[in-house]
Amino acid sequence: MDTKFSALDEEFRVEVKEFLQRNLPPRIADKVRNWKRLSKQEMEGWHATLNERGWLAPHWPVEHGGPGWSISQSAIFDEEVSLAHAPRLRSMGVAMLGPVLIKFGTEAQKRHWLPRILDGSDWWGQGFSEPGAGSDLAALKCAAVRDGDHYVVNGQKTWATLAQHANMIFCLVRTSTRARKQEGISFLLIDMKSKGVEVRPIPLLNGEHEVNEVFFTDVRVPVENLVGEEGRGWTYAKYLLTFERTGIAGLGEAAAAFNNLSHIAATEMKGGRPLIDDPLFGARMARVEIDLANMKTTNLRVLAAAGEGSMPVAESSMLKIRGTEIRQEITSLARRALGSYARPFINEAFGDDYSEAPVGPSYAAPVAPFYFNNRKLTIYGGSSEIQREVITKAILGL
């Protein structure tokens, strides 16, 4: 058993540290540290910076632009990124579409789309869920009917994250209604600027515009935008979701969030001493700190066992469930730490042109909105309930 980093690994850590120090704008780090919202430009800027260094897509093979890191290196990169409060780009193109194209796409598709993902030419949205197909994703109805060299798409997608910025969207569509529901699904790449595509925001409970509905009315999509075989989209989506789950465990985010929580709890006072030293609050924090330390090792164990392949499905479900619970607990504690100052909510204050002094402590404003926003963690990317179903199948075999 060798769970320590090698000297070579530690050299790599220095390299990452230096890169972050030189290239991460302090203004952005400050926003990330304090759970503030990033603008599209800020996200694109950091995307470009990482791409320039070749560090944008750690889980892609080297020949397609991945950095060729070992598990240790990936873990180190993750740690340093969180310590430096660099943005976590959840680029759908990098995280999800890339691996699918690499494994199932044609040579032409890879040549065309992969570089555009990396250089930011395309911002990809994800079109999986529908109003009637959430946890039961295979019940999706959005239809693509072949018409000559095109598919004609009609239907509706929902929960499309940041699709307001996207110019492309990858969708699961139904190309056949005759088979059982998991069959007859295909994986299609759709230009958002096509005639008949409409995006409508879904405002969230914390006032944020993060997700969207996307409507398709007689949208024509060239057949070369089909990924893999017609009717095999479900297989590709399942493959993709194991990648999504890994990311969603979000240990880097959790570690960064815990740092922010520690800062808040060391600043807030209770009964004449810092809240972090309060027996009850301190115990809540210690519990989640321990959970997080355990989870880091679980994560490495799973990655080490998986080797080069994609994540084993039950293990990645465990990471998703527990990782998201930990993140929710951390933001919940931060919310509790604020006392009365959890309540003020000035939505304009999240914009870049707000210049008034904050209400209460400077760290307060984003906390409660972030807590409410983080309720999504156990819902999207396969809810905790769905993940438990996956684990059940694997361990019980019933």
């Binding site: 959890a342 309540r343 409410f372 309720r375």
Partner: protein, 371 residues
């Protein structure tokens, strides 16, 4: 042993419920909540007319009720309709004024709905501890002024009068906290208002030698009792909210279909919903205990109050989070009333002491409790 309300109280609750369901639907609530005022003078006048402010005060104070269960039924209905009007501040500040005595006329105007009064006890560093404040009161020639800052005062901008707590002595070791009445338009009063994540508005209050009327020089006992009534109110508001969340979630479980069946057919959700339901009944019992305890001695009362606020905090979080989780993505949208109920329920845990605060208080009061 009778857990039903007497006729007159049930009638009042039904009246209020009917008014709110007819005139205060969720769209109206959102409109008011997001308005510049963050409240509705029209509804306030109508509710005052119906006696709903008076219900919070005893006859000797110019009201028509004031029993703990009067407060309970009114706030339960307010919770059900997610009302953002200044009831809590009125109850807290009005109780403080009533307990201090000698301001019958002002209180009368409050009960009539003509004067809005708010309650400013919390400070940025006080963390729910009424004694841990630094606002200072000074008297010169029998006239008082107050200097300091108060945090997150509900409906502050709308207030005509503010009840303010402040130290009344500068000698070291003297920890007396007094209560004062400050006019919101007095010199030295600065108000910064803002919206709240759970609806309506609050504000930061800065006092700079602001002229003040002394209600009590040594007011901690008054503060405690007023706060106890405020906590009782919050607990029942939470009960109203939880019932609504339960109702909506059950309805969703019955109608939302996934995998070819209503999701309520899935046993894992069923068993969690059973837990949510039984916990809500535990929460209701704690709120009943708190109401009943107003007939007991101080330690018993305050233990029951802290037990209830702890219980509501713990169970409220469970209910809000489970309601969202069982709804899935839709439960996180602004459009669904549920998400606003959930936000308010969570934020009740941030008013007048959170779970940890009240659990510790319950433990500390143990020593003093009779065996």
């Amino acid at each position: 042993m009778d857990f039903s309300h007497p006729h007159h109280r049930q009638l009042m609750a039904d009246n209020l419920g009917r008014y709110l369901s007819q005139h205060y639907p969720i769209e109206e609530r959102h409109r008011i909540s997001q308005s510049v005022a963050g409240r509705s003078p029209q509804h306030w006048a109508a509710l005052a007319e119906m006696g709903m402010i008076g219900a919070l005060f005893a006859e000797r104070d110019g009201g028509f009720g004031g029993d703990a269960f009067d407060i309970a039924v009114v706030f339960e209905q307010l919770g059900r309709a997610l009302v953002v009007e200044p009831f809590l501040g009125t109850l807290l500040a009005g109780t403080a004024v009533a307990l201090a005595g000698g301001h019958d006329e002002r209180l009368g105007e409050v009960i009539a709905g003509n004067t809005i009064i708010s309650f400013a006890a919390d400070e940025s560093m006080s963390r729910f501890d009424h004694a841990a404040i630094s606002t200072q009161a000074n008297s010169r020639d029998g006239a008082w002024t107050v200097t300091g800052a108060k945090a997150v005062v509900s409906h502050l901008e709308a207030s005509d009068l503010i009840v303010v707590s402040a130290r009344t002595c500068v000698s070291p070791g003297d920890e007396r906290i007094g209560l004062f009445l400050v006019a919101s338009d007095a010199v030295g009063v600065t108000i910064r208002g803002y919206p709240l994540i759970d609806g309506g508005r609050a504000g930061e209050l800065t006092l700079n030698d602001a002229p003040a009327i002394a209600l009590a020089n040594d007011g901690l006992a008054i503060l405690e009792l007023a706060t106890a009534r405020g906590i009782l109110a919050l607990c029942w508001e939470a009960i109203g909210i939880m019932d609504r969340l339960k109702h909506d979630t059950l309805e969703y479980l019955r109608t939302r279909r996934q995998f070819g069946a209503p999701i309520g057919k899935f046993q894992a959700l069923q068993h969690r919903m059973a837990t949510v339901s039984l916990e809500i009944e535990q929460a209701r019992s704690s709120a009943i205990n708190a109401a009943v305890a107003f007939g007991d001695d101080r330690v018993c009362r305050e233990r029951a109050i802290s037990a209830a606020k702890f219980t509501i905090g713990r169970i409220g979080t469970l209910v809000a989070e489970e309601a969202i989780q069982m709804h899935g993505g839709i439960g996180m949208t602004w459009e669904l009333p549920l998400s606003h109920y959930a936000k308010r329920l969570i934020m009740i845990g941030h008013q007048l002491g959170d779970e940890d605060h009240h659990l510790e208080r319950f433990m500390k009061l143990r020593a003093a409790a009779p065996a």
